[in-house]
């Protein structure tokens, strides 16, 4: 669902964020509480376009949220040899 509905395009396939997401804010791990998350997705009028129930069902949105909750914490950046 996360891929099908295009979330990955700006948020990355792991919800890790990019320059397009308010300067790199992460969706996952630890996404916003469900009420804030779903409310934002449905009603945002900022750079991110809103997803109405017509194009993203409540069920699919819940699946996306479950996926974000399942994403593990990334490794410590200091442990990534390539970055040194």
């Amino acid at each position: 669902m996360f891929i099908q509905h295009g979330c990955w395009q700006c948020h990355g396939t792991q919800g890790q964020g990019s320059i397009a997401t308010s300067g790199g804010k992460r969706l996952a791990p630890n996404p916003l509480p469900w009420e804030a998350f779903s409310g934002f997705v449905r009603s945002t009028n900022r750079t991110m376009p809103p997803y109405s129930e017509k194009i993203l069902s409540d069920g699919d949105l819940a699946d996306i949220y479950a996926y974000l909750q399942s994403i593990p914490k990334p490794p410590d950046v200091n442990g990534i040899t390539l970055l040194k």
């Binding site: 295009g6 990019s18 397009a20 194009i55």
Partner: protein
């Protein structure tokens, strides 16, 4: 070292021109090359090889005209329409995949030193080091790196 910015349709062609100027000035040139952008004028690779223009192209291969992909998604949402049609060529015809283009082979076919496609981060540093050696020896090089969309 001079860094040349990436954009749409204006990346590799001016990068080769800038690298030509930098060559004569003794500067090392690096271009972060979008995949879709290169497909507008891939023949410029041959030009770089033909005239021995040392340029390190690190390909930002996100397998799509991603700016367009995001724009179509955004406009579809704002018009309350589903953007992803679920077909094999999808989502909306702005993805460059299936088949995936092998840019290393493309570059090699035109006489450019190449490496990739790199999908394992552990392979990146060794590939870049060899490519830098090729550029320092006076020839263009392209490293195809498969990346996240942004």
């Amino acid at each position: 070292m001079a860094r040349i910015s990436a954009s749409v349709y204006t990346s590799h062609v001016p990068a080769v021109g800038a690298a030509l100027a930098n060559r004569d000035a003794g500067r090392f040139s690096v271009s972060f090359q979008p995949d879709g952008d290169l497909m507008f004028s891939p023949g410029v690779l041959w030009t770089a090889a033909r005239h021995k223009i040392p340029l390190l192209s690190v390909m930002h291969n996100n397998r799509g005209y991603h700016q367009e992909t995001m724009h179509v998604q955004r406009m579809s949402n704002r018009r309350n329409r589903i953007a992803y049609l679920g077909k094999d060529l999808g989502p909306f015809g702005t993805r460059i995949e299936n088949p995936d283009i092998d840019y290393a082979k493309l570059a090699s076919a035109m006489g450019v030193y190449s490496a990739g496609p790199i999908t394992d981060p552990n392979e990146l540093a060794p590939a870049l080091k060899k490519a830098v050696q090729a550029v320092n020896a006076g020839e263009p090089a392209l490293v195809d790196v498969v990346t996240q969309p942004r």
